[in-house]
Symmetry: C2
Subunit: 395 residues, 2 copies
């Protein structure tokens, strides 16, 4: 195939032999980012409670949007007509879209996040997902109840219309509770879906977008290896690790440890839907270059602040102990949300139900994660990642 992504590049300019982590520069038509980095979720073409200007103030490099939500509302055609996602939402930096598959296959909003982390009981039913076949899947729109088909080809078409820089192949995201046989058949189908994505992608390729393949295979090391090698052998720009990542932190680590050695060594690696601080420290060591997770903004909506040097990574500002706490969240984040308000004021805002409370926490959390990633990059360069991890996680 002739896919050479002339407007994209990924340059690994440092490898830390000790930790296994690497430093790279990922170039897109909307600018370059240094890696490791963190991709913030602008699910429905908006970061929850933050404007693009506030994201930039928090030193954000890259965001993503979700194909599934946007295809339903306002629709890919409308976004294309409005000039694409970048123009529509006023974000001029690099952007990623997922394939839509993750949400289609998730068991109602929010539960797939448990699936990824192996917390599902298998009892939930996905009432919106109607059928999965070789062709693709059929599901019911949560917006208007209409029946919608999503295939590798339509996912590519929709992502082309949305116009993000980095795209994801369409894949089936298998849940934790399915057996190895199902996982194997699903993983093989995802490889075929990846091939169909590549064909469809190339048909319209004008150099504006780069396509990631996704490694599936559930918690089974041999399946992960097959999927990783198949992805490596195909002309994707990047590699993503997707699907169920195990029932425990150890299992999740094993999955990654046994996938990435078989992935393409020179392509950027994205870890789908994972992004606690401890995950960042763990998985940069396996060569993960980018992370994404909803937690920075979701935690904010629950009154929770991500903190450097805090056991458990967070504090809950609703807690009565912050009622008279005059200290700001963090003097060193370099953003007004972290430095200009006392914890007592944020506590008051949350108690009073003021939206501003979550806005402040959302910007603080994004700034904290961006600072984490800057410090992670600096420590990889300096060979001090272990020490930085101890500082951040209070080990």
């Amino acid at each position: 195939m002739a896919l050479d992504y002339p407007n994209f590049s990924f340059d690994i300019h440092h490898r830390d032999e000790k930790s296994g982590a690497r430093l790279g520069t990922l170039k897109t038509p909307h600018g370059a980012i240094e890696t490791p980095n963190y991709i913030f979720c602008g699910t429905k073409a908006a970061i929850k409670a933050l404007s693009p200007a506030q994201m930039i103030e928090a030193k954000t490099d890259i965001i993503l949007a979700n194909t599934y939500h946007l295809m339903l509302q306002p629709g890919a055609d409308l976004i294309e007509k409005m000039g694409g996602l970048h123009k529509f939402m006023g974000w001029n930096g690099p952007m990623l879209t997922d394939s839509g598959g993750f949400q289609v296959f998730s068991l109602g909003e929010g539960t797939m996040a448990n699936e990824i982390k192996g917390k599902s009981t298998g009892k939930n039913e996905n009432r919106n997902l109607m059928k999965i076949t070789e062709e693709g899947c059929v599901f019911k729109s949560y917006v208007d109840g209409s029946t919608i088909k999503l295939t590798p080809e339509s996912s590519m078409e929709i992502q082309r219309k949305l116009g993000a820089d980095l795209l994801m192949q369409f894949d089936e995201c298998t849940p934790y509770h399915v057996d190895k046989d199902y996982t194997a058949r699903s993983m093989e189908m995802s490889i075929r879906w990846g091939d169909r994505c590549l064909v469809e992608f190339e048909r319209h390729d004008n150099g504006a977008q780069g396509l990631y393949g996704i490694i599936q295979g559930g918690v089974y090391s041999d399946l992960r290896r097959i999927s990783a090698e198949a992805t490596k052998d195909r002309p994707f720009f990047g590699t993503a690790v997707g699907g169920c990542l195990g029932g425990s932190e150890e299992e999740m680590e094993t999955v990654v440890a046994e996938s990435l050695p078989y992935a393409h060594p020179d392509r950027p690696v994205h870890f789908l839907g994972i992004g606690q601080m401890k995950d960042v420290f763990k998985f940069v060591r396996y060569g993960v270059d980018t992370f994404d997770c909803v937690i920075p903004t979701r935690l904010a909506r629950h009154g929770t602040a991500l903190m450097k040097g805090q056991k458990g990574e967070t504090i809950n500002l609703k807690n009565a102990k912050y009622r008279e706490d005059e200290t700001p969240l963090d003097e060193e984040n370099g953003v007004s949300a972290s430095t200009d308000y006392s914890k007592a004021y944020i506590h008051h805002l949350l108690r009073a139900g003021e939206i501003l409370g979550m806005q402040i926490l959302a910007q603080h959390n994004v700034a904290t994660i961006n600072r984490l990633m800057r410090e992670v990059r600096a420590s990889i360069k300096a060979g001090t990642l272990d020490q930085l991890e101890k500082e951040w996680l209070d080990l």
Copy 2:
């Protein structure tokens, strides 16, 4: 009395003989504002959905906070301990607090706004207000159900602790449906409460705050005149027009027209709780210097944008006709919320339930009102207020 407000001044530097409007400069320890101007409601020590920085970006000069809400949560003692409202909420400009009376006497949240505008049927009962006596009033806290007494003295004490620049005397805000006898007795009591406020205010006066008297008297011209003259004769820094303003726009205008000629001619005049665009144009002609109203941010939460040159002053961005509208809200407001997003994008955000939609509209609405006030001031100077009114209200 020795109240001379050495750190405050109000200088009327232009009177437009044709329209009756005036231009002034109101100086406070936290800076000066040009009048006519608009005071935005930061009810619970926060502008709904906007940070202080975003308010400044929208060219805001002055805000207010509500004593009633803050005395209940987080409490005046806490705010004093945290250094006062300015420091607590990060607003370094001029600020006003009301007396707490308005909300105590209101018939549940939101209904007093109808009372002011004469829309009440008289059928509602204020379940939280337990007793009004010469001493003050007793009510139940909506936060924890506890019984709370508010008097002229405690209102002054609380407002002193909150630490705003401009304070309001404690008064009874009489509803529309009460008769003239009740209104007269209430108005006389508010005068006595005003005297008690002045005594209490002076006891602690350190030059940091300026006290407004409030003209009451319901819809009765003779009572309004008595109240206005009593307020003029007392050493208040400013004059506020409060209470029920009639059952129709004409009645509201008559009330103001028959109050302000008897008010102190050199003091700043604030119109409590009134602030549609048409009100601004109408009442600056009677010498009103400042307005306040929750509508800029409340409308935003309902998907509504204040617009220059729009019949009815507003458009509702939820309307399907904005689905593909690529134009921004207003190129001339000089703030990102008005210029950087298409109506189609805001429509999408509102449809998708994204908080960012209301944040954008809140900043746009505040910026629109601030621009209105700048243009009103310029037109008073130029003698073109009539023409500006036609432009803004599409007459």
